[in-house]
Symmetry: C2
Amino acid sequence: MVNYLEEINGDLWLIEDEQDNLKVSYRIKEVIYEEQTPFQHLMILNSYDFGRMLVLDGVVQTTSLDGYIYNEMIAHVPLAIHPDPKTVLIIGGGDCGVAKEVCKYENIEKIHMVEIDRQVVTACKQYLPAVSGKLSDPRVEFIFADGVAFAKTKKNEYDVIIVDSSDPVGPAHVLFEKSFYQSLYQALKQDGIMVCQSQSPIFHKKIMNQTYHRIEEFFPHVKRYTAVVPTYPGGLWSFTIGSKQYTEPVPSKVDN
Amino acid sequence: MVNYLEEINGDLWLIEDEQDNLKVSYRIKEVIYEEQTPFQHLMILNSYDFGRMLVLDGVVQTTSLDGYIYNEMIAHVPLAIHPDPKTVLIIGGGDCGVAKEVCKYENIEKIHMVEIDRQVVTACKQYLPAVSGKLSDPRVEFIFADGVAFAKTKKNEYDVIIVDSSDPVGPAHVLFEKSFYQSLYQALKQDGIMVCQSQSPIFHKKIMNQTYHRIEEFFPHVKRYTAVVPTYPGGLWSFTIGSKQYTEPVPSKVDN
C-alpha cells in the first residue's frame, strides 16, 4: 500500500503534492481508517486544523470543518433555481454530504445516488459523521456503479443532476468528458438542471473553461459560480450549471 | 542570514511554516532580490504559480497574481463608504499596492504613507512593479517611521486611515493593540473611517474577533468583511472597519 503520510520530527503530516508548483501539508493527529479499495487509496484522518478528513489517493476531498460549504453550494444553488424538483440524481459524492443537503427538501421524492466506490460511502457513514450525517433517509437509493454508464441508460427522468466528482485525474476523469454532459442532457426532464464542480479558478482555469464550453454545447443556459473552500488549493472553487430552461431563482415579489 | 529556501530534487521551494498545523510550499524559479533589513528578512522571489512575490521573514505578503485583490478590497471599501475623502493615511503597506489604489481617486489631495521599513518600499518599487505600479504620484508622501508613534502625534487630520500590516508577529504586533486603535480614532476627523486587515476567519478567529472588539471600544460603527486571497492560508481573509459616523455607501437613487 502506498504511504501518503510522512513523519517529521515526531509529527505525522499529510503532504498533498498532486500539483507541480504548490504543496499543502496538514499536521495529522491520527489515522482513523485506511484501505486500498478497488478504485483508489482511501483514508479517514483526524487533522489538527480541519478535524476529520476524507483523503483519496493522498488528496483531501472534504473535511469536518469546511465540507458543508462545498456541499451546500453545489446542492442548494440548482435546487433553488428549479421551481419544483421532485427527482434528483447525484453522481459521485461518496462522502454523502451532498445527499444530506438534498434530503433537506421535503418535496423531493426520489434521490438516486450513483457512486463507483462503495467503500467511500461505507467509511464516510461510519467515520465522517460531520459530513455524511450518517445519512439514512429512505428517499436515497444508493447505486454502486459507473456514473457515466448509469447516466447513459436514463432518458427524461430527473429534475436536477448534481455531479460531485473528485479531480479529473483517476476514476473521475470521465466525468469531465463531452459525451457525459450529453448523457446528462438526455437524462434530465425538459426543464431539468445539472451542476458540476468545475475546479479552481486559480489553478485549473483551462479545465474550468473547458467544462463551461462543453456544457454550453448541449444546454442553452450555462452559468458559473464560486465558493470559498479553505481546504482546496487557492481557497476558491468553481461550479458550473447547465439548464434547459431556467436561468435564475424566481424573484420574490417586492411590494413598495 | 537565515535561509528560507529549500532545494528538493533540484527544485527550489519556499516552505511557509509559521503555522503549527498547516504548511504551504511554493516552487520558486529564482531569487530576484534578498536582504536582511534592520527590521526583517526580505526577499522578492519569482514563483511558478504566482509570479513575483514579496516574502518577509519567510512568509508570502503579496504576489503579482493576486495582490490586487487584497489591495483593492482594503482600499476601495472605506473609500466608497466615506462620501468625500481628501486626506488618507496608510500605515504599513510597504509594497505600495494600497497607495496605488488610493491614488486612483482624483479628489484625494494628500496621502501619508508611513512604513517602518524603507527597504520594503525600495525593493517593491524596483522589483515588484505588478503590485507597486512603480508608484510615483506626487500626492503620496513617504514617511519611514514607526506607525504607532506617528499616529499618536496626529489629531483630527485624516478622512480615512488604512492599516495594511503584516501578521501580528514581528514588527507588526503593535498594530493590533488597543492603544493603537485609540490613536487612530483621535487622528481621524469627526466623520473619519479606519480599516485594517484582521487575519483569517479560518485560522485566526481569536485575533479577528479581538480586533473587532478592540475597535468597537472606540468607534460607534464597526463592520467586518472578507475577500478571497489565494496566497493567504485558507484562501479567505478578513478586514475590519471602524467608522465614527458612516455605516455604508450612500445608495444610488433608484427610479421605478
